[in-house]
């Protein structure tokens, strides 16, 4: 049972409104004095005078009603004005945008890697059902799928960076910095997807058209990789697109451990340093991205798997 696609698309603005209101309310929840915080962000650490606080309150319109202020906040946010960071004292939007690009790079590379690896591993496992390649792949993926990102990432740092010195332990900037976060994020979905490809392949290999292809005298390799694997690829692509939003969560932890300046680390550092405007901005972008990706994934899965179209 699912809601219709039309309902979901129509409800998206509503969800975004709810989250933007929540983000707007955060300073109220936390009891942050916005006049003081803004003043601090703009000028020096010197204790502000009463007049300065009064002036800034007037300028920000802090004495208006909640709804008026929310309307103003929303209007600014839509035009990309998320205010000024309390810590770096520079506008929030460029920081959030840069971080989003970094996160998107990592997440999409990781999903791509997972889809490719999982297809290969799943097909190999299915073609060798119950023989050692299958046992190895299935066993490894059962273990990998259960290891959380905050255990897996340090383990990878230990193996790849410290023991074998293949990649830098943390940081960002060069090409080799991308490898560790991408691998850390890709492993668990690879394990999950490869199991799904495997079982789909086993189903497919039972189909009459596969037998036909074999009777025609096509080599087994060609039957497996061309005729059967194509079907599984569709399934894993659908799954991959649905997985992207969930991966943003894992990215938060991986980015913090590996010092990748993405959206997750931005949210984390904004939270730990009480940088409210930066946190609000990052939050809204992350939520919007999640929902947008979800909708796109929904459309992709609808196009790729025709039977789902009418559900």
């Amino acid at each position: 049972m699912r809601s219709s696609r039309r309902q979901r698309i129509l409800s998206t603005p509503l969800v975004l409104l709810v989250f933007s209101f929540l983000a707007f309310l955060l300073p109220e929840f936390q009891g942050v004095d916005q006049a003081r915080a803004t003043l601090y962000a703009r000028s020096e650490e010197a204790a502000p005078t009463e007049e300065a606080i009064k002036a800034i309150s007037d300028e920000l319109g802090l004495d208006d009603t909640l709804l008026v202020r929310y309307g103003r906040y929303l209007g600014d946010a839509i035009t990309g004005d998320f205010g000024i960071s309390n810590v770096s004292r520079s506008p929030v939007w460029p920081q959030v945008w840069e971080a989003t690009v970094v996160s998107a790079t990592v997440v999409f590379l990781a999903i791509g890697l997972a889809v490719v690896l999982a297809t290969i591993l799943g097909v190999v496992a299915a073609a060798n059902e119950h023989r050692w390649p299958d046992r190895l792949i299935t066993g490894l993926s059962r273990i990998l799928v259960a290891i959380p990102i905050h255990v897996l990432t340090p383990a990878l740092v230990f193996l790849l960076a410290l023991r074998f010195d293949l990649v830098p332990t943390s940081g960002w900037g060069t090409r080799s910095h991308i490898i560790l976060p991408v691998v850390a994020l890709a492993l668990s979905p690879t394990a999950l997807f490869s199991q799904i490809v495997r079982s789909e392949m086993l189903d497919t290999l039972q189909q009459p058209y596969i037998r036909t292809a074999m009777v025609k005298g096509l080599p087994w390799r060609r039957v497996v990789w061309v005729h059967a694997a194509r079907v599984s690829l569709v399934g894993v692509l659908t799954l991959g697109s649905l997985f992207v939003a969930g991966m943003l969560g894992g990215a938060v932890i991986a980015e913090v451990i590996l010092g990748v300046p993405g959206l997750g680390r931005l949210l984390h550092s904004a939270l730990t340093s009480s940088d409210v405007p930066l946190f609000q901005g990052g939050l809204l972008v992350a939520v919007t991205a999640g929902i947008a990706i979800g909708l796109v994934a929904d459309l992709i899965s609808g196009v790729l798997s025709p039977p789902e179209r009418d559900q």
Binding site: M1, R2, S3, Q7, R8, S11, T12, L14, V15, F19, L22, A23, L26, F29, Q30, A146, I147, P148, I149, H150, V151, P154, A155, V157, F158, L162, A245, G246, L248, G249, G250, V252, I253, V256, I257, G264, L267, H268, L271, T272, F279, L283, A286, V287, G290, I291, I293, G294, L295
Partner: protein
């Protein structure tokens, strides 16, 4: 088969007893700066951490905190989600489709991000973490209970019960609950590893209980700083998290199996 099960239970109880005895005789927060990062030995079976604190008794305390918090939060989530789902199924119509729309839209919002909002409101402590886990976790319970209950309530036997004038309470007790309970319990166990990982993951990021509380995620974060020279220190809490998740997932699959028939 049955003797093997009993042997497993007995072994489990024995291990638990030894761990509890160890915890009672060893203070998890007592520092011993002369024996920092000591390897596993009879004096400290899991070694000691950067303050020379006994890792085994910290793991035992951490088990109570981490598993306790995760399962409490999960139980609350399950009750809230199930209540919402059953209510929507009972009302049907608009309420039902509203629930579907809400859950379908929220499912795309990354859990960790919602959890960060909860932490930013309620602060960095164990209670805030539990609230975070509760806030993000009710969706699948609402979905599953809604679908199961809609199916049961739409069935011929539920109709028959209603037409013969059976009271609502009796329908819920004897028609609805027996049909929805088992899958929901199985879902609860299957969801446990994810909740454990979310909770310890947030705590790993320093958003949970503050030192010296021996929460597993926080212990792991402490240990990771010594990854290069003392890989054993992060290994212990890391393994604790992974193995507990494994065990719960295994239990969930066992519970699920009889309901859906043998799976391969």
């Amino acid at each position: 088969m049955r003797t093997r099960t009993w042997a497993k239970v007995a072994a489990g109880i024995a291990v638990l007893a030894v761990a509890v005895w160890w915890r009672v005789t060893h203070d998890p927060n007592e520092q011993d700066l002369l024996n920092r990062f000591s390897s596993p030995s009879l004096a400290a079976p899991f070694g000691t951490d950067g303050f020379g604190r006994d890792m085994l008794s910290r793991i035992v305390d951490g088990a109570v905190i981490t598993i306790g918090a995760a399962s409490t939060a999960l139980a609350v989530t399950a009750v809230i989600g199930t209540t919402l789902g059953l209510f929507a199924a009972w009302r049907g119509g608009r309420t039902g489709s509203a629930l579907l729309v809400v859950t379908d839209s929220l499912v795309a919002v990354p859990e960790v991000v919602v959890a960060l909002i909860a932490v930013s409101i309620f602060g960095t402590n164990l209670g805030a973490l539990m609230i975070a886990v509760i806030v993000v976790g009710w969706l699948p319970f609402a979905r599953l209970s809604f679908e199961l209950a809609s199916r049961v309530l739409g069935s011929d036997y539920a109709m028959a019960a209603q037409m013969t004038g059976t009271s609502s309470v009796r329908i819920v007790r004897f028609t609805l609950l027996p049909n929805v309970l088992r899958p929901l319990i199985s879902l609860t166990f299957l969801r446990f590893p994810g909740r454990l990982l979310l909770l310890s993951g947030l705590s790993f990021l320093g958003l949970g209980p503050q030192p010296p509380t021996p929460e597993w995620g926080a212990m792991l974060a402490d240990g990771v700083e010594e990854l290069e020279r003392h890989p054993f220190v992060p290994l212990v809490p890391g393994l604790a998290i992974v193995l507990t998740g494994f065990a719960a997932a295994h239990l969930g699959r066992r519970l699920e199996a009889p309901a859906t028939g043998p799976t391969n």
